[in-house]
């Protein structure tokens, strides 16, 4: 399901007024967008849970949507916040996973917006060592020892890089 941002903004404004039909359409569009947005950086096993958590946050924080602003940056900020939180608590939960390498790219406007807001942009703002440590341990599910062997960083350094990287990701949610 693809809905342009103007339509999403109308749906969100109606949902804030209690319109359930509009809200159902908004959630369906958000779900579809979130699945595409998160799939490259989240293991398939964890994807549905993370999308559900994000939608729950959307539900609880619906009042924080500003009808004067577009919906997607608001949704992306909530998704990034939940994603960083997910990285903090996830540790080898999913085991080894195959990530979908299909880039979130395309030529229409929505795809361009998605690319600008993408999680890759968030990771690009991190130093390579931190980004790699987080990707290996918190996303791909490697142990600290395995990540250490893979990157050539000591185990302590892998831990430090994950810790610092997560702090930095949390600070970059709106800006990167």
């Amino acid at each position: 399901m693809t809905v342009d941002d103007a339509s999403l903004a109308r749906l969100a404004a109606l949902a804030q007024q209690g319109d359930r039909q509009a809200y159902a359409a908004l959630l369906a569009a958000c779900r579809s967008w979130l699945l595409r947005y998160l799939r490259r950086r989240v293991s398939p096993e964890a994807l549905d849970d993370l999308v559900q958590e994000t939608l729950l946050s959307v539900h609880r924080k619906l009042a924080t949507y500003d009808p004067a602003r577009p919906v997607i940056p608001w949704l992306a900020a909530i998704a990034r916040y939940r994603f960083v939180d997910h990285l903090r608590v996830t540790y080898r939960a999913a085991g080894e996973v195959e990530l979908d390498d299909e880039a979130v790219s395309g030529e229409d406007e929505e795809e361009a917006v998605t690319a600008r807001l993408s999680l890759d942009r968030l990771f690009e703002a991190l130093p390579e060592a931190q980004s790699r440590a987080i990707a290996l341990v918190r996303i791909e599910g490697l142990s600290i020892a395995e990540a250490s062997a893979s990157t050539g960083q000591s185990e302590s350094l892998v831990k430090v890089n994950i810790h610092r990287g997560l702090k930095r990701l949390a600070a970059l949610i709106e800006s990167a």
């Binding site: 007024q17 809200y23 779900r31 539900h59 009042a63 924080t64 500003d66």
Partner: protein, 215 residues
Amino acid sequence: MPDDPFDTFMAELVADLKPVTPLRQGRGMALALAALALGAALLVAVLGLRRDFAAGHPEPMVTTAAGVFLVLAVASAWAAVDMARPGVGLRREGWGWTALMAAVLPGSALGLAGVELWHDRPVTIDPGGVLCLGLGLGTGLITLAALVLWLRRGAPSSLRRAGMLAGVAAGAAGAFAVSLWCPHDNLMHIGVWHGATVVVMGLAGRWLLPRWIIW
């Protein structure tokens, strides 16, 4: 009822929908400014207004410092209130310039102290300023409470930054309120003790508030 668990989950969210009032920047600011005014009014009501202010001949140095703290409180509160509404790509950097401007006060005080020490002259930092610090922190708590209340309703994506901004706003509000009463006129006292109110509250906000505003 749908069979797919995800569809069931979405149906439950839809069934649970209640009308909500969007968080408005104006309402958040009104809350923060009301708290700032309440703190200042309480402090003046209990301790009184500076004599020069009461006489209508405000001392320029104190007036300027009070104005700087007030502007810093408003700018930081604006940024903190805005953080309740998340959005990738939003710029909230204006408060930083105001903080830099406010840093001129303690910066100048420390610079003057450095010059005095360089010339082997004694530097006196009024220990009674601890009272100003305490009063500023206490008064600022009212503004802090208002901002925490607002942020808990919202969804700040960077908890530490939101906490720090709320703390800086509260500290500056407290420093402004104290300026209305404090009998001292000298830069060293204002820069060190009133400035410390902002620094202490900002650091406390950064480290202590995230657990209150997490969502």
